[in-house]
Amino acid sequence: MVEKGRISAFQMGRMIYLAITPTAILTTPAITFKFAKQDMWISPIWAFCGLITLYAVFRLHAIYPGRNIVQACEAVIGRLPGKLLGALFLLYYLYLIGIILREYGEFVVGSFLFTTPLIVVSGSMVLVCAIAVRGGVEIVGRFAELLLPAFVTLFLFIIIPIIPDLRVPNMFPIMANGITPSLAGAFVLQTWFSELISASFLLPLVADQKKAKTSVLIALLMIVLTLVVANLATLMLLGDITGGYTYPFLILARYINLAEFFTHLEAIFMAIWVLGAFVKICVFFYVTVLGAAQWMNLSDYRPIVFPIGLLVTLSSMWVAPDLQKLTFSISTSVTFSAMTMFVIVPMLLLCLAWVQKRWRGTAAKG
């Protein structure tokens, strides 16, 4: 086994939560609003892709225990096509992590460190993540365990003080045009939900397997809950102008006003949000590195961490020329490609695997 470390189901749940939520609460409210208007808070509930992906992940793991999806590829469709598909998978992961890193960088530079070059911000994050990933899955798991309470506290710290300022009428009319608007808004969110495929890479590393399923499902529930609350708060505070901001949640943070004295504390919001983004990038980075190491049949993934880090940084610079194009791509082609790679492909694999099992079963009997 390339990775000798083990994580607990509890840690895995936390890792999954932090692997999805940070960037989700940052950029999705605006995009969801564009499609769903006042029904945007219902959108996160339509977490179809999440459930489908998880189903595929768990079933595949049941058929091929101890293997993640890249390894299962080879078993299902044969060595050469499996390797090709696996490579495609990993390249897509590289692409996705580039997008995530770019989102992160644009946010930090655009809202806080205006004069710092983007590559410095992205590069420093990659460096720090590389150091953590080199320590192994246990380190990343412990980071997730440790930082989750901080992240959640921050989240509550932003939401709770603004409760007096929320205007509930912004929510109405609920479902004026049926469920179509909220479904349309949920469309973009499917990208984030299909990122749950990362669970496939973490599942073989969990020590107490029986609790893993519950843990991940709870994580999914928490993700949905967090997004609903975030969307609801944004909607009720900003109303119609939600779509005008790239980062509505930041506006919420700006509202913090303690005794008219401590204002503009959004820098602290940024600092703690970065902790969440760090875990997310670590998880994706780790998955990419582990997948690559297994694909190349290496005995250890540690040597390739830094080179892949370089590729990740480059990917983040390359994926889009500027923020607008980035946001546009995220709301459109990225969703499609993510759904293809993370939902359709796993389901196809699962079907094939299931058919194969049946076929082998009947052949053995016959």
């Binding site: 564009k34 692409y95 608007p181 190491a293 190349m296 049949n297 005995s299 370089l310 590729l311 194009k325």
Partner: protein, 80 residues
């Protein structure tokens, strides 16, 4: 200016190698490291000179163009 960037990239690769090379055991691992590092270096140098190279996003955009158009139409209806 561009050449300094390339030098910087080379320096970065050298640093990585200095740190990792003695630690990695096994021919396979060393080749993997070298391959990816060199690939990264080449890609980085390329992007220094030709930053406008269409990236994977553009490729995927082109791939999914028809679907994207469909979504755009839907959005027009919405905000209209």
């Amino acid at each position: 200016m561009k050449w300094t960037a390339v030098l910087g990239i080379a320096a970065l690769l050298a640093l990585m190698a200095a740190y990792e090379w003695p630690k990695t055991k096994g021919k396979k691992e060393k080749t993997a490291f070298a391959a990816i590092a060199v690939l990264g270096g080449l890609l980085a140098s390329w992007l220094v000179f030709y930053p406008e190279t269409p990236g994977p996003t553009q490729c995927l955009d082109a791939l999914y163009k028809p679907l994207v158009k469909m979504i755009e139409n839907l959005t027009q209806e919405r905000s209209g």
